[in-house]
Symmetry: C2
């Protein structure tokens, strides 16, 4: 079997496996699948769940597209003309309970007929309220996967995520970050197999980590002010995705399927002019932690006495 | 007095006049003014009203900035380096009642020390439900102002608005359009005075037209499904402003004041996956009318028999 077909088949099986694990964890909601075709070649299976018990709105999308390189892709990626193949899985989950974090994951493979290929992807966590212990847990899990595949991966990709998931117009990060990587090809001592196994490990880690975060937070009591804060944080998520996220802009610009790309939008988001959380609140504390370069793996939650 | 100071003073007086007229029409809400300064020179007065009787959230902003041309502006506008001056008034109003339309207006002046100058601006209307009679009234009012100043203005600027206020990822217009114009300078038979008088007329027409639309719609009864539809339409407004609006992107990219620029965001917006209004509803009819090149001035509402 061709390598690209093998990778695409694996992505599709990953999508199915994640859907199953998320549905089991949610206990009520079901993903609804939409099949779409791309005129120039390929298509995808978009899966969206709305109004689950834990997940208010979430998408787990798979696509595998091919054909002649669109002009905009040639420019954006600075590659030659020719035939291309691209496949991946993209996930964004907006939970109902404000104490359950928003999560995003993407793994993707790109190949050109001249033989150029690379993997890309990332996972990042956007808690409405940052819990330092949970942020540490999340980063520890990512570090473990990274460390298994290369000693430099975690530090490099953690920094990349800090830089990428950043709202420069607000000088704040989207959340507690995670890992981000792109154009992982066969350079120096990296082979296709090594890159592929790493991306597979990242993809497989998503569901256990997120369903754990769902489980430990989903039954926490919350008040209207927590929902209000959640809606504000979601508006920042909207701002990031529509203003800065390269994948979103690029997808919409090159004729991607709009409803599949914008599954990342929250079910509801609110904007208040000059909103600032009051000092001493958990919202305010979260706001203070929306910064780059926090060493989450080694960060301890403040002691009550501090 | 310098020409640029005169224009800026006039914009500031326009802002005050519009605020007064909107507050009178709202009857309950008051605009709250924030003064801000730009490090490199100039600043602004941002005025936002939240939780009025008719206006749920609205901004009427004035700014006048100057200094050395930022690198990004030089590239974006394709102009030479040097000192620049820019001033303008920007308005976005999100009403509470879904039968009152969203409106946007902007008038602006730009000048460089080498003597280059131009005016730009526009008004466009975004009804949650399109009422053909009201769209016709709105365009008739704009046409009247345009016709007073130049025979080609309305046709040219109406088309420009159709092209500008367009969500290409959804193949739909933001609303019923209006007029849009940019770089109106002293060319052929146009003088500074003629351009300036036109822009003044556009600015002065905003409040009477919009307060009329507030008045005739603000007491209409609405149900939850109308609010739901309003939230969907607002999400499209968010998408336009963050994905395609050059002013928003450019302002955030060149260090503009984020909260002033994003006053255009609605108080609340909702996204549902693959939402389609049912046939036969007013929402569906509106969706069908979100197209370019509709001759609103001559369009008649369908007769009940059609």
């Amino acid at each position: 079997m061709e390598r690209k077909q093998e990778v695409a088949d694996w992505f599709r099986s990953l999508q199915k496996s994640i859907i199953k694990q998320l549905e089991d964890a949610d206990g009520r909601g079901s993903f609804v699948e939409t099949v779409w075709n791309r005129v120039e070649g390929g298509g995808g299976f978009s899966n969206v769940l709305e109004n689950g018990a834990v997940i208010e709105k979430g998408g787990v999308n798979f696509s595998a597209v091919h054909g002649p390189m669109p002009e905009k892709i040639i420019k954006a990626l600075d590659v030659a003309t020719g035939q291309f193949f691209a496949s991946g899985v993209s996930i964004v989950i907006h939970p109902r309970n404000p104490f359950v974090p928003i999560i995003h994951m993407n793994v993707r493979y790109f190949e050109m007929d001249q033989g150029t290929w690379w993997f890309g992807g990332g996972i990042d966590l956007t808690p409405h309220y940052i819990d330092v212990d949970q942020a540490r847990y999340f980063h520890q899990q990512l570090k473990q996967v990274c460390d298994t595949h290369h000693a430099t991966y975690y530090d490099e990709f953690k920094k990349w995520a800090d830089d990428y998931f950043y709202l420069k117009h607000r000088a704040e990060t989207r959340g507690v970050g995670g890992i981000f990587f792109d154009r992982l090809a066969d350079q120096e001592d990296f082979t296709f197999e090594q890159r592929y196994r790493f991306v597979q490990a990242v993809g497989e880690q998503f569901a256990p980590v997120y369903t754990h975060l769902m489980k430990i937070n989903q039954d926490k009591a919350f008040a209207q002010e927590d929902k209000d804060w959640q809606m504000i944080r979601r508006s920042r998520y909207v701002e990031f995705n529509l203003l800065w996220d390269k994948g979103t802009k690029f997808g919409l610009d090159t004729g991607g399927r709009t409803e599949s790309i914008l599954m990342s939008m929250p079910p509801q988001a609110n904007w208040h002019y000059q909103y600032e959380p009051s000092k001493g609140t958990q919202a305010h504390e979260t706001q203070q932690l929306l910064q780059k370069d926090i060493d989450w793996v080694n960060k301890n939650a403040k002691m009550p006495a501090e």
